[in-house]
Symmetry: C2
């Protein structure tokens, strides 16, 4: 089974690695070589979108959930910075482009049925949320105080 | 700011606490008391659904992403076990009901714009994924090996 706890060493490859990885499509899983097609997100299931979770790669804090379309996915892998698709603005959105709170990609994982992705990121300037909180999940519904 | 790193003490209240919390709607955030309405998910944004992320409350590993409708949300809070909505089967789904891989809720958080939720869970029997992997995110897209 893939080791995904806090002891995993951080990855800090140059941006070129993203372009190379994306071009070759080469990657591997716990059972060996997996083709690029097997790891392609299935955007058909939800009108061209998939949910993407951003998690801080050091603290393992979940920072936010947003959506990606094919273009946002491609831009994320080719640039090494998280890109999402804004459903309200109907446009691609480079996370932090105006605020400076960029998300540098450390690792990208895809789930078992290829309909959601997990980004392990270095959250630039510490906070992901437009409210100034580190994570968008700063309010507790349960347990009650 | 809410402290959400690994040093937060685990919560292990009895199931009754869920019913009580849900009935009263009482809860608080970093700036004090927040009303139940403020913490209600907005299901309108995506045809009655919101994405829900399940994260292991001890290891902070992201286990899976699924969707909830209002009923799944209510059942999660009233029973203390994660419930989702299956888009393919068009039905409520109690996670682990047949496999035994239940998810006991430890904490529920909602994001800044109320359109996604984060469940901190005790993953019963260790694995969330139908493949037998601990997490559904067991395949790495980047970096290439």
């Amino acid at each position: 089974m893939k080791k995904t706890d806090g002891s995993r060493s951080p990855v800090d490859r140059p941006r070129d690695a993203f372009r190379e990885a994306h071009r070759s499509g080469g990657t591997s899983g716990p059972t060996g070589r997996i083709s690029a097609d097997e790891l392609a997100p299935n955007f058909e299931k939800m009108n061209g979108l998939i949910p993407a979770v951003a998690q801080e790669y050091r603290t393992r804090e979940v920072l936010m959930v947003a959506f990606m379309n094919q273009e946002a996915w491609d831009l994320t892998l080719t640039t090494g910075y998280a890109h999402y698709y804004s459903r309200t603005r109907k446009a691609i959105w480079k996370k932090g482009e105006t605020s400076g709170h960029l998300q540098e990609i450390r690792e990208v994982l895809i789930d078992c049925d290829n309909d959601s992705v997990l980004l392990l990121v270095n959250q630039v300037e510490g906070s992901a949320c437009h409210t100034g909180n580190r994570s968008c999940f700063y309010r507790t519904v349960f347990p009650a105080p």
